[in-house]
């Protein structure tokens, strides 16, 4: 390849040399171009189109020509639609009922793994992580059978626990119609979400705990700090960054909950629409009512909500520690 460079002074660069220079100079741009081309075509363009669409009335079935500009109508229609508000309320309730326990369980679990296990640490972590890598559809189908009213394992187990002395009173005596009662369908969906994501959060917290240098505890203990104090003044503050990341991920994920309620409660959203999340309602608006504009507007309203709550979360938990420069 270098041979062509031995020609007399300042010749017209040969084809070989030009290719040589070209590939050296533009290689990085060429190598990263697939991402940008795909992002423009399948990311940015669809999103901008969706924004455009949200100001139009359009039934895709009747062709592009039927698109009609209607201003903010799609947004006001959504905001005056009681089912939309109900879907937001459902999403919020399920997000809280599944999000809070996830973290309250994951932190002690991570501690237990970190402090009490040595040899089997990897094995136990993997076990807890298992639900996270399993298909949501498969998981939800298993739980439909477990949640069954008369014959489900969960009710049978709860009834057995009710028979116990002392703590029996904590468990219900009656069988609960988990997926068929409007008061129980949300906790049922939430508990499946908890089951799936506890392990994931445990792994996140575990990595945070393991990153805390042991000599900090040593120093604190030399200074006479109690266990409780070193937990309060060393562990919790140093765990804050990972807590922020974990809570952000839960927040964003939970607000877009779709698959678990879709399988557990059916595409209708279950009894009294109680398990109809906003993404489910948006999907229904597009897929069954065929109203693409209304559905697009709904996704933008959800986007605004997610953005706002992420900002609030940023203020409360984070010190604007967004992933960027490593």
């Amino acid at each position: 390849m270098q041979a062509s460079a031995t020609a007399p002074p300042r010749p017209r660069p040969s084809l070989g040399t030009r290719w040589e220079v070209f590939q050296r100079r533009y290689a990085p741009y060429i190598f990263i171009s697939p991402f940008f081309i795909l992002f423009l075509v399948f990311g940015l363009f669809p999103i901008l189109f969706s924004l455009y669409l949200s100001f139009h009335q359009w039934q895709p079935a009747s062709g592009l020509g039927s698109m009609k500009f209607i201003g903010w109508r799609n947004f006001t229609d959504n905001l005056t639609d009681p089912t939309f508000w109900q879907s937001l309320r459902n999403t919020g309730v399920i997000a809280l009922e599944s999000g809070v326990p996830q973290h309250l369980m994951a932190i002690p679990l991570a501690f237990a793994i970190h402090t009490s296990l040595k040899k089997v640490q990897g094995l136990v972590t993997a076990l807890y992580f298992l639900p996270y890598i399993t298909s949501v559809v498969a998981i939800s189908i298993i739980f439909v059978t477990l949640f069954s009213w008369q014959y489900g394992v969960i009710n049978v187990a709860l009834n057995a626990l009710h028979q116990l002395p002392l703590i029996g009173g904590l468990f219900p005596a009656e069988k609960i119609n988990w997926l068929g009662n409007r008061d129980f369908i949300q906790p049922a969906v939430a508990s499946v979400v908890v089951w799936k994501y506890v392990g994931w959060n445990t792994v996140l917290y575990l990595s945070g705990i393991q990153a805390i240098p042991a000599d900090l505890y040593e120093a604190a203990s030399v200074d006479g700090a109690t266990t409780r104090q070193s937990f309060r003044f060393i562990t919790l503050p140093l765990l804050r960054p990972i807590m922020f990341v974990a809570i952000t991920l839960t927040l964003i994920g939970n607000l877009q909950l779709f698959e678990e309620p879709f399988i557990l409660a059916g595409d209708s959203g279950g009894i009294g629409n109680r398990a109809l999340t906003t993404v489910m309602y948006m999907f229904r608006t597009y897929n069954f009512y065929g109203d693409a504009g209304l559905a697009a507007a709904m996704s933008w309203l959800l986007f605004i909500l997610i953005g706002a709550l992420t900002l609030v979360n940023n203020r409360v938990f984070g010190k604007s520690r967004l992933s960027g420069n490593d």
Binding site: P34, L38, F49, V144, Q150, Y217
Partner: protein
């Protein structure tokens, strides 16, 4: 824990090492949690060997039954399930192969070259991770309709071929694990830029490629919403969608359905047994290495 005062200093018999729980409490908590984690999988296997009538009975079955074969036959009578599993596998292979190639290529460029707008362009890559997927559902469906890609597997693997997460992962690895001098030396020896990628970078990226491959494979295998939008006929369904359509039938044959669930879940369980460490590291990399 590294701190071990207990033998040396009788004054402070138990050095506090930041543990808020006693060991006994911790172990029982872990055992209880592990049981609750594993039991649904156990019942998945048990129920797949029982008839519908046996599953919904009092008390529910807790041990394996006799109906595995009949359930299996009934599953195949309702759904071309091996075909569905093959569809899942095909999607996962295409998406994994293309992701590995494009993400390692872009990750190499971001890690090893200095070029104008590098930081800004990488910022754009990372920013796309913040776009909530829900925003893309309606336009994705419309676009695939317009392209005539409905019922076509490529609609699911082509858009994500060069995903931001993969590029991030590969950039981190290449930047930290491969010495720049090696790349420089190859360049002086007359290797082309793509040649450097192919002969130097790829062979040295094994662990990162394995991690990204596993993550991509599993995400594709488990994907449900994408196939729900794209596929319209049982022949083209991947496994997850086939399960869902079986569940939707009136008079669902739960025994058969659970055989399908087992067939869908077991391949990943096997992969997980051999590669859990790598997988967990890869999946949490975005969150913990940011």
């Amino acid at each position: 824990m590294a701190v071990d005062f207990s033998t040396a200093a009788p004054v402070r018999p138990r050095a506090s090492t930041g543990r808020p729980l006693s060991r006994g409490a911790a172990i029982s908590l872990l055992v209880l949690g592990a049981l609750l984690t594993v039991l649904p999988f156990y019942f998945m296997f048990v129920f797949s060997t029982h008839s519908r009538g046996e599953i919904f009975n009092l008390p529910p079955p807790v041990w394996f039954g006799q109906h595995a074969a009949t359930n299996y036959d009934s599953l195949l009578a309702r759904m071309p399930f091996w075909r569905n599993l093959w569809n899942s596998l095909y999607l996962a292979i295409m998406s994994t192969g293309s992701t590995l190639f494009f993400c390692s290529l872009a990750g190499y460029a971001f890690a090893m070259y200095t070029f104008r707008f590098r930081e800004q362009l990488f910022g754009v890559v990372l920013a796309t991770l913040l776009i909530p997927g829900a925003l893309n559902i309606v336009p994705f469906a419309l676009m695939m309709q317009a392209l005539g890609w409905i019922d076509a597997p490529r609609s699911l693997w082509v858009p994500g071929m060069a995903g931001a997460f993969g590029i991030f992962l590969m950039r981190q690895y290449i930047g930290s694990a491969i010495p720049r001098e090696l790349v420089e030396a190859a360049r002086i020896d007359g290797c082309t830029e793509f040649g450097i990628y192919r002969r130097i970078i790829v062979p040295l990226c094994g662990p990162a490629l394995a991690t990204l491959g596993l993550v991509t494979f599993i995400a594709s295998w488990n994907n449900f919403l994408g196939p729900l939008i794209i596929f319209r006929s049982a022949q083209t369904y991947p496994a997850a969608l086939a399960l869902r359509s079986l569940q939707g039938l009136v008079n669902t044959d739960w025994g058969a359905l659970l055989v399908g669930v087992v067939l869908t879940v077991v391949p990943l369980l096997i992969v997980f047994v051999f590669a859990s460490r790598q997988l967990i590291a890869g999946l949490t990399a975005g969150a913990t290495k940011g």
